[in-house]
């Protein structure tokens, strides 16, 4: 009876998750949607506590208290710029929890049916890879591990061997039910997660976290197969779908394939572009006053923010500049490239934190056609996503990557410290165009100078 009753409540929880995600389709309802999903989770947890026989309540309570305190602390104190690391860490904890549940099932029951053994192995492997891979990604994003690709000699062969070991040990565990083999399997899967994420460069982390997000969902689904819970299967599948969609969007925005990100090295491709004639071609450089006049007497300005803006913590100053321009009846909008931040949608959160209204934020498809009709495109801390070479020059290493057409605005102001190429080492023809004004400055400094100059203009 109690199992049937519990299943009913779990269905309610799953429905709350789906409806909650549906409300994320609009910024107006999104917050309510998240709260609805959280309510679903609360129902699932309370029902589980009430309707299961709990022999060791102290372990349960201690786990909830410790986990709740750590999670709550992290969520409240994290800087918005550090959101990618935090999500990577949460992915890791989720994957780890699923692996632990499967491991505990395996180690405490004997003579499990074949299907349970198979799903235990899958849940453990996927969960363990998610766990270790996510914490390597966390380390890279936090700067604890080098953002550069880190590999070892003979990596392809070694990784293949490791993958084969995981499969072999998995079969051994399923067929033989051996406990030592199980621990070896855990170890091999953890190692696989580490060596697969280490060689991926920092710039590709948006793809990696999206992919690990999908993995954490699939791990939860597999754990659902193990403990025969539809709630886990459904929720895990939702998250798996979400992570795969985001992975696909990120990969497309970088004009790459998933295989290329996970197994190729970006550094090798970028080198071919070479520094070439950087600095030898003439540029039009502008002072703060020049730029301020151009902005202040424009009718429409499109701001293109990049991660450099967030690194310089200049979002609030940018907002102040936008306010001043709006007082002068300049129409100010923001064009957000899908890979503008360090994870999908990251730049939108950073600007929202600086009080920029979300109806001013446009994604690439929405605003692309407006550049030719705009007076000024203001590029702050972005580089590769506004490189016209990606559109026009077939020899460019990033040819084919979708870019924002800032060069089509009447005037394009680029705020940049120097002409040095971005992390990909690719020269940007935008800087040498006749309608481009280069304002050489640090993003934050540039914003405060522009604010002062616009007040005078």
């Amino acid at each position: 009876m109690s199992a049937t009753l519990a299943s009913f409540f779990y269905l309610v929880a799953a429905a709350a998750f789906i409806l909650g995600l549906k409300q994320l389709q609009s910024p107006v309802t999104a917050r309510r949607g998240n709260q609805l999903a959280a309510l679903g989770m609360l129902i699932a947890i309370v029902v589980t506590l009430l309707l299961t026989d709990i022999i060791s309540p102290w372990i349960v309570v201690a786990g909830l208290v410790v986990g709740g305190a750590v999670g709550g602390f992290l969520a409240r104190t994290v800087e918005m710029t550090a959101m990618p690391q935090l999500v990577a860490a949460f992915n890791g904890f989720g994957g780890g929890a699923s692996a632990l549940v499967a491991a505990a099932e395996f180690l405490t029951s004997d003579a499990l049916p074949l299907r349970t053994d198979i799903t235990i192995v899958l849940s453990t492997v996927i969960g363990a890879v998610t766990f270790s891979g996510s914490f390597v990604a966390f380390g890279k994003l936090q700067g604890l591990v080098s953002g550069q690709p880190v590999g070892y000699p003979g990596q392809r062969f070694g990784d293949a061997l490791l993958a084969a070991a995981v499969i072999g040990l998995g079969v051994w565990v399923v067929v033989g039910g051996s406990t030592p083999a199980f621990w070896l399997l855990v170890l091999a899967a953890l190692t696989l997660g580490v060596v697969r994420v280490l060689p991926i460069g920092g710039a590709d982390m948006p793809v990696v976290i999206s992919f690990l997000n999908a993995f954490s969902g699939i791990a939860a689904s597999m754990a659902g197969f193990v403990i025969e819970s539809n709630a886990l299967i459904i929720s895990g599948a939702l998250v798996g779908a979400s992570g795969l969609i985001l992975t696909n969007i990120m990969v497309k925005a970088m004009n790459r394939s998933l295989g290329n990100v996970l197994f190729g090295a970006f550094g090798a491709a970028a080198m071919e572009g070479g520094p070439g004639a950087i600095g030898e071609k003439p540029v039009r450089s502008a002072t703060a006053d020049d730029a301020a006049v151009t902005l202040a007497y424009a009718d429409s300005v499109i701001v293109v923010p990049g991660y450099g803006l967030a690194v310089a913590q200049a979002q609030h100053n940018l907002k102040e500049l936008a306010n001043l321009l709006e007082e002068r009846n300049v129409d100010v909008r923001y064009a957000i490239h899908p890979v503008a931040g360090r994870m999908p949608g990251h730049m939108n959160v950073l600007l929202a934190e600086a009080d920029v209204e979300y109806d001013k934020l446009y994604d690439l498809d929405q605003i692309q056609e407006d550049f030719p009709r705009s007076d000024v495109a203001l590029v702050v801390g972005a580089n590769d996503v506004v490189n016209p070479g990606a559109r026009d020059d077939e020899t460019s290493p990033i040819f084919g990557m979708p870019i924002l057409d800032v060069d089509k605005a009447t005037t394009c102001i680029v705020i940049k410290r120097s002409l040095s190429p971005g992390f990909a080492g690719i020269d940007n023809p935008l800087f040498y165009l006749d309608n481009t004004l280069m304002f050489f400055s640090d993003a934050k400094r540039a914003m405060t100078d522009l604010v002062a100059a616009v007040k005078e203009a």
């Binding site: 995600l21 989770m41 947890i45 886990l232």
Partner: protein, 95 residues
């Protein structure tokens, strides 16, 4: 193996629902989507609670405890940080 048919059916159908619902989430909400869906994957906490509550052997107790801690971090942290982000999203005319 026949027992797997129904769970696999549930999994596949749920994945389709997920694709339909999540494709329509606009890019500007992709970060909250990721952290929020991440919190949902913390549903594995149900399994963790059952395992930890059983606590029949030391190994199960240790693994169960860790599973509850990890899953709770994921659930509590994920929903709270998503709420914190979504609170910042507002339109022009807010007072």
């Amino acid at each position: 193996m026949a027992e797997l048919v129904i769970p696999i059916t549930v999994f596949v159908l749920a994945a389709f629902v997920g694709f339909e619902v999540i494709t329509k989430v606009p890019p500007q909400l992709h970060t909250p989507l990721m952290s929020g869906s991440n919190a949902i994957s913390g549903i594995t906490i149900i399994g963790a609670l059952v395992v930890a509550g059983r606590g029949d052997t030391t190994v199960a107790a240790v693994l169960g405890f860790l599973a509850v801690v990890f899953a709770t971090i994921n659930v509590v942290g994920g929903f709270l940080v998503t709420d914190r982000m979504l609170e910042m999203f507002h339109k022009k005319d807010r007072s």
